[in-house]
Symmetry: C2
Subunit: 216 residues, 2 copies
């Protein structure tokens, strides 16, 4: 581990794409990311992909050549080297797995839901459900494309996971709709004038409760 260069996960993801032993252009890798990795990790920009490819070539993990198809304008294609294959294999096995990062803008709005009208919050949740359904439909198409080739066995596992993930997100979102109404009623009942029913120092009580329960 110690002699692997310190690279961001993005570099390893690009090298992982080349690890499928095809010659790929930056355009191909961007499409791969949109097509499958993007569903659970990362949808890079073209410029990000190109700068990662340059970095990998400099490290000796990839080689490139100019490629010309009839009628297609030239593009540079990249291929993994033995050193690159060994490095990404070791990274996948040896490096610590970082905990998932989740930044859920819908939940952030609901967290401060007292600032908002409950009907608007529910509309936001409904829009989110529609988004999840659209992603799920796209994934059915994407996963269908991967079904044909044994080499895609592991990407297929992640795409099946993502399908179930979108379905779970939908279900979780649906349960929010009733809870938003309930939270709104709780606020209205305890503070009919619409101000937040805060009593000074209640955060101290929360902190004491959490400390007491965890013994920290």
């Amino acid at each position: 581990m110690s002699d692997l260069p310190e690279l961001p996960p993005t570099s390893w993801a690009v090298l992982g794409c080349l690890g499928f032993d095809e010659e790929l252009s930056g355009y191909d890798i961007k499409k791969w990311a949109d097509w499958s990795i993007g569903h659970f990790y990362w949808s890079p920009s073209f410029s990000q992909v190109y700068s990662e490819l340059k970095r990998l070539e400099k490290l000796g993990y990839a080689t490139s050549r100019q490629y010309r198809d009839t009628g297609v304008r030239g593009r540079r294609v990249y291929q993994i080297t033995d050193a690159g294959r060994e490095a990404v294999r070791r990274w996948a096995i040896e490096s610590a797995v970082e905990p998932p990062i989740l930044k859920h803008g819908v939940m952030l709005r609901i967290w401060m839901g007292h600032l908002n009208d409950p009907e608007q919050l529910k509309q936001m949740v409904k829009d989110y459900i529609a988004q999840m359904d659209a992603l799920n439909q796209q994934l059915v198409i994407d996963a269908g494309a991967a079904a044909e080739d044994p080499a895609w066995a592991f990407p297929r596992v992640t795409m099946n996971w993502a399908k179930r993930y979108y379905a779970a997100e939908r279900e979780l979102a649906e349960q929010l709709l009733a809870e938003i109404d309930e939270a709104h009623e709780t606020l209205i009942k305890s503070s009919p004038d619409g101000t937040l029913p805060v009593h000074p120092g209640h955060w101290r009580e929360v902190e004491a409760h959490v400390k007491g329960a965890t013994g920290t």
Copy 2:
């Protein structure tokens, strides 16, 4: 919307904390984030919180004063202003909700699972399940602390959501265990020598399939 300053969601999250109408120190806000927002959006560093508070004060969205308790060393506490309350309210209502960001390191390793030993992959998934269970247990404690106060009605909704989210992640992860073995067997069967059973140009077929299905 046009006259709201362009701030990162982090600024709005900090202002949202102050939007609960308590005087809070940077330390308090860091604890709030760890305690609840961190479960679905963001666990900032102390220095990030302090620089956001300074920025919000400069914008006139918060005021601060030095606060001294008996036996406690002085700390600076922040309070939202009317302009700040109006700004964060408008942000929550008017700004476009960004799609959730998910960076799932476990899934990235599984995606390139042919580089790894299936037993190691399954151990990684089991470690991840244990992580989810630990977070869920912490959340039961955290949500218990929020149960007491009507002002926390909306944070409570997000914490209930997060509990269900962790449970769903556990279930999704458990289904991976069998699928990892299946994918490994698919690879072994189609390529007994352990190399990746790639046929040149299969990515082109995938691309054609996706294009054909979506009509793009």
